[in-house]
Amino acid sequence: MRYAYYPGCSLEATGRPYEESVAAVAKALGIELVELEDWNCCGATAYMSINEVLSFSLSARNLCQAKKIGDTLVTACSACYTNLRKTEAYLADFPEIKGKVDTALAEAGLRYDGGVTTKHFLQTVVQDVGLDRIKSLVKHPLTGLRVAPYYGCQIARPYGIEDDADNPTMMDKLLTAIGATPTYYPLKTMCCGGSLMGIRKEVALRLCRNLLLCAQQYDAQCIVVTCPLCQMNLDAFQSSVNKTYGTNFNLPILYFTQLMGVSFGLDSKGLGLNDCIVPATGVTAKYA
């Protein structure tokens, strides 16, 4: 299996453990991820607040790079995923936007006329590789590990991952396949606040507190995520939540790829397990 791969900026910094664990898991599953040549930032939510055409043009440039490699582009960041999918949809639905993006791209001698489908790495793993193959690779089943499956918002909607937008189960099934127990987690697609952490911090902290509280109420030992921004808000700001609300949360926030790697018996260094701010090795060590 060979795919064009778009890491996105977060995976070079705050989401580095995600990048490492995606690479390790892909290798174990026999997925070849070919990184886009000279890729640029997707614009995140900030560019959409400055200029819509600009935001679409940035993603269209990446889609041009993807097309050189193949017709499926894989990304592990939910925000990048949404921007790429949204760009596809707007270019197809609104000729006026398409015309403007064409004009902008032409400045660099590029043109994008569709033909690339963007997938989240969670889809690649569950839909393309399949749960049977994943089960066959499990060396240390995560028996007894209670995990809150947190999908976050942008993977579920508005350009969802071919799953129920209100109650996705793709990751629940994956967790079961590697031996873990997904807990009931009614806030599984509720927002973590995203970049609100930099704009209205008190609002974002409350959203994170609700997510942590909900996981705790159903006895989860950790929360598993699909997005570097969700991970950072819940992990790096967990102590801020505790300070603000007088709580005592101590919940590791792991990427689904990290838990897959643990169950496959991959080297923990290559999974970035030591780089969670809330120490994660307490829950993963017994399976390593």
Binding site: A13, A108, G198, I199
Partner: protein, 194 residues
């Protein structure tokens, strides 16, 4: 007045009847006329409790032409772009995208409440336009120094935590064809109509 408080009346001359046209202008924006004021958006919004006006109210205000009040509302800066309202809207109105439009208008007009968000967006824009990629370390430093240097002290432990876990590299990567990207950006800004 029988216990009923006098409400502030907004006179018609204070209304901007072109406001609705501006919203119609964005792709899919004309669907705002289909809003039935059901409140599904406000009920679905995870942050409506932190808003001054709920999304449903904002939509009624847009249609009434209350341009100033809408663009000065903290509501548009409270929207986290989680798309829950847009996903559930029975009239298929692109609510989140209209919120983005309102954000762009407020930033463009330098509205007071847009200061923090504008600082974040502009800092982000400057970094990406220079390097082609976002460098989160620079972004955090710029936002803290640009908006609230003293308040930034409370963020220090978060930054140190990320740094010691090798998640805030000192230097960002730059793309090779930054000149080409800058040309795209310049053109998109020129024709973007913002």
């Amino acid at each position: 007045m029988n216990g009923v408080e006098q409400q502030t009346v907004i006179y018609e001359k204070a209304m901007d009847l072109n406001f609705l046209d501006e919203i119609y202008h964005i792709p899919g924006g004309e669907k705002i006329k289909d809003c039935i004021q059901c409140g599904t958006c406000s009920g679905s919004c995870p942050v409506s409790w932190a808003m001054e006006e709920t999304p449903r109210q904002i939509f009624a205000m847009i249609r009434a032409g209350m341009r100033d009040k809408v663009l000065n509302s903290i509501t548009i800066w409270t929207c986290a772009s989680c798309y829950q309202c847009m996903h559930r809207c029975p009239q298929e109105i692109k609510i989140t995208d209209i919120m983005y439009m309102l954000k762009r208008m407020a930033i463009r007009e330098n509205r007071q409440r847009s200061k923090n968000a504008a600082a974040l967006s502009r800092a982000f824009f400057e970094i990406v336009n220079k390097k082609g990629r976002n460098h989160e370390t620079s972004l955090m430093a710029k936002v803290v120094l640009g908006t609230n240097p003293l308040g930034g002290i409370s963020l220090a432990p978060v930054g140190i935590g990320l740094f010691t876990h090798h998640r805030l590299p000192m230097f960002g990567k730059s793309i090779r064809d930054i000149k080409g990207l800058q040309k795209i950006v310049a053109k998109a800004k020129e024709i973007g109509g913002e």
